[in-house]
């Protein structure tokens, strides 16, 4: 299925009159950024790696370390896989085999590698390569059917993870104990990675990684639950109160839900991310919180989900990126409100021809755990 990404890359090379491209990854994974090697190989590497694609459609994956070769070969949809302990030597071999060492090439995500690797790679190339750092992200911006199925499974895992949180959270527990429990629970359901932020306070400034704080009655638990299943990250944002919730909490949380609905209504094919952001911000402005629609009181109103493609990027008011059918991203009008602290509400959505569809079975509400 993912060979379609190779075909798209070849079409781009023909259009740009380039002979080939090299995509890079250093083994780091970001849920906010494309992994260019994953997009062009189907492999999430554990060390430094590169994918070489020639304009003739042939491709080679190079991974470190050598002992990861069997796994990489089993997962890769490239013609050849080189597993080695020296990426630069492996890349040199691949370029020679493709006849590309002295040809016109593009490099994808080389600017995101270390300076040391950047120098070494440029030393292999006879011509200055063209930077195409966003190519993988652009070509993979629409999830294919196989990827969308994994996205839906990941959302299912996220919702089960949240159910687990509500089942086990109790006063006296430390944040890291709760995070460990729900992280392992979701991993057991198939989440190979998880950008899990989960923290609690009686007045949160933001969500953060779990620490040693002991949960207390009246705490507001924030959960940014972000499992990755088969290379597809999703995110749901939830707010849970340990014990009775003050009326003001429900009142202010309703603002986030209203902003979410406005955002969903605005997110139709052709709309810009900026227009969707403004629709959400309008709800907060109308309630008198216009000055809080900026960091440090919030970050963004949503964002693309990395590894495959981080498009359509951040939901910020100046984004001109237009939504397309099949794009997947998280929409989250998370907001600090002076009377309540930071609150979270968010779903992973897919853009259909009719507009945004939440992939959650149950959208976020202010949940209260009886003690």
């Amino acid at each position: 299925m993912k060979k379609e990404r190779i075909a798209a890359a070849v079409a781009w090379l023909e259009q740009e009159k380039l002979d080939g491209l090299i995509a890079f990854n250093d083994g780091q994974n970001s849920f906010l950024d494309s992994n260019a090697v994953y997009v062009f190989s189907g492999v999430r590497p554990i060390g430094r790696s590169a994918a070489v694609i020639g304009r003739d459609g042939s491709s080679t994956l190079i991974v470190e370390p050598a002992w990861d070769g069997e796994r990489a070969r089993a997962l890769s949809f490239n013609d050849r896989t080189i597993a080695c302990d020296d990426l630069v030597a492996g890349l040199s071999e691949a370029l020679a085999r493709h006849g590309l060492s002295e040809r016109a090439l593009a490099v994808v995500a080389l600017a995101k590698q270390s300076r040391a690797l950047d120098r070494a790679v440029r030393g292999l190339l006879a011509q200055e390569p063209r930077s195409a750092d966003t190519l993988a992200s652009h070509l993979a911006r629409i999830r294919n059917a196989e990827e969308l199925a994994c996205v839906k499974k990941a959302v299912w895992i996220a919702e089960r993870g949240y159910e687990r949180l509500m089942a086990v959270a109790r006063p006296g527990m430390r944040e890291f104990e709760l995070a460990a429990d729900i992280y392992a629970f979701m991993k057991d359901l198939g989440a190979e990675d998880n950008f899990l932020l989960m923290s609690a306070s009686q007045h949160n400034l933001a969500v953060r990684a779990a620490g040693r704080r002991v949960l207390q009655e009246g705490d507001i638990i924030l959960g940014e639950i972000t499992p990755c299943h088969q290379g597809q990250f999703v995110q749901i944002c939830r707010t849970t109160v340990l014990g009775p919730a003050a009326p003001v909490l429900a009142e202010k949380y309703a603002l986030l839900q209203a902003a979410m609905r406005r955002g969903m209504d605005a997110a139709v094919p052709g709309a810009t991310m900026g227009e969707v952001t403004e629709a959400m911000n309008d709800v907060f402005r109308a309630a008198g919180y216009g000055d809080y629609c900026r960091p440090p009181y919030m970050r963004v109103r949503g964002h693309g989900l990395g590894v495959t493609s981080d498009r359509p990027g951040d939901l910020v008011d100046d984004s001109q990126v237009k939504l397309e059918e099949g794009m997947v991203f998280v929409m989250h009008p998370n907001q600090y409100i002076p009377e309540t602290g930071y609150l979270m509400c968010g779903e992973t959505v897919v853009i259909s021809h009719n507009g945004a569809i939440s992939l959650s079975d149950a959208d976020a509400s202010l949940d209260v755990l009886s003690l």
Binding site: A66, E70, R174, A210
Partner: protein, 375 residues
């Protein structure tokens, strides 16, 4: 061992002043203070990212959970830390370092402002510059605008960390305790009939439940011949268990291979090679000779391919702090250093790796952790 790097280091972590008091960092900072004084630097930059941050953590205690961070030390005045996170996240970032001034690296004015405080037309020392992306280095270069020269000074870190400090070794020892917890839980899950991935997950869950900062695992789906990361397949239960678990505690790593039911002869060979290696780890001994003694103890067995011909390396703030022990090594074993040692073999469709974390002392090795000790 290389493992899949997580999208975020999500475990419990903050600056623990009882374990790493401010005076510890005053001592560590002497290296940078002296370089500033002796080399006439206007200031110094120490860079680290989520993947490699030994230098940054050593001097600042800060470990990026994702992306990058930079500690900025002026010749005079308060140091600053830039973390590549939103300003929204700065309160949480401030709990991870002794540096008093923590700012968002997304607002580059904070770097420019720091530059403005430095005496002009000088030199800025830099550690970890080669780890930076060209994009970030470009931003640094533009801010310096020819007013300062950059002097790459990675050798300062090596000098400051020639041996592990006592508090570092104590934290490796604590990481070893958490590793034992993980190892016991992993083996227990395996004994209860779990598949290889769920057994590894049992180990990870146990370590995270006692505040591990990070946990990495690898599993063998084929009885010990190869190692692979977690893939949520839940279908492999080979005859023999071979797994790898690494645990980070307050910034410091420990690791262990778990092979409780490897074929006895293979286990005996791996253990004999590890014993030979530990015996050879004497101050002043040749690392290559230590490797050759371990190799000889393996006898006719084929060395385990996942070890890539290596028998060990330094461990601490990084899983791999260098000073590899292999036939090609040119270095010598030094006292006061924590090493991760391993020896393993494959034969007849099975594999085994034995491992230990040791601290080399004048009298021999202190063993902080040895795999299989509690089988």
């Amino acid at each position: 061992m290389l493992t899949v790097h997580p999208s975020i280091v999500l475990g419990s972590y903050l600056w623990d002043e009882e374990r790493l008091p401010r005076d510890e960092f005053d001592i560590r900072m002497a290296t940078i203070r002296n370089a500033i004084a002796e080399r006439g630097w206007s200031g110094a930059i120490v860079y680290g990212d989520a993947r490699e941050h030994a230098a940054l953590a050593f001097f600042s205690n800060f470990i990026p959970r994702m992306r990058w961070a930079m500690a900025l030390f002026p010749a005079k005045g308060e140091p600053r830390l830039l973390a590549s996170m939103s300003s929204r996240d700065m309160p949480a970032m401030r709990t991870m370092t002794w540096l008093p001034d923590v700012k968002s690296g997304w607002e580059w004015r904070w770097f420019d402002e720091w530059i403005e405080t430095l005496p002009a037309d000088g030199t800025i020392g830099a550690i970890g510059l080669d780890l930076m992306t060209p994009l970030l280095f470009g931003s640094v270069s533009r801010s310096i605008k020819g007013r300062f020269k950059i002097e790459e000074a990675d050798e300062l870190l090596h000098a400051a960390r020639r041996v592990h400090r006592p508090r570092e070794l104590a934290l490796v020892q604590e990481a070893a305790c958490t590793t034992r917890t993980a190892e016991r839980a992993l083996v227990a899950a395996w004994r209860d009939g779990a598949d290889i991935e769920r057994a590894a997950l049992g180990g990870e869950r146990a370590a995270r439940a006692v505040a591990a900062q990070d946990v990495r695992t690898l599993v063998s789906r084929d009885g010990g011949l190869t190692l692979q990361p977690y893939a949520a397949r839940f279908e492999d239960r080979p005859k023999n268990l071979l797994a790898y678990v690494a645990v980070k505690h307050l910034g410091y790593w420990c690791e262990s291979f778990v092979a409780p039911d490897a074929p006895p002869k293979l286990r005996a060979a791996s253990d004999a090679a590890l014993d030979a290696l530990i015996a050879a780890m004497r101050p002043g001994a040749s690392a290559a000779r230590a490797a050759s003694q371990a190799q000889a103890a393996l006898g006719a067995y084929q060395p385990h391919p996942a070890l890539s011909g290596r028998f060990g390396r330094r461990i601490g703030l990084s899983l791999d702090e260098g000073e590899t022990i292999s036939a090609q090594s040119t270095g010598v074993i030094a006292p006061g250093i924590a090493y991760a040692l391993h020896a393993g073999a494959v034969e007849g469709g099975a594999g085994c790796i034995s491992s230990a974390i040791v601290v080399v002392r004048e009298r021999g090795c202190d063993i902080m952790h040895r795999s299989g000790a509690e089988d």
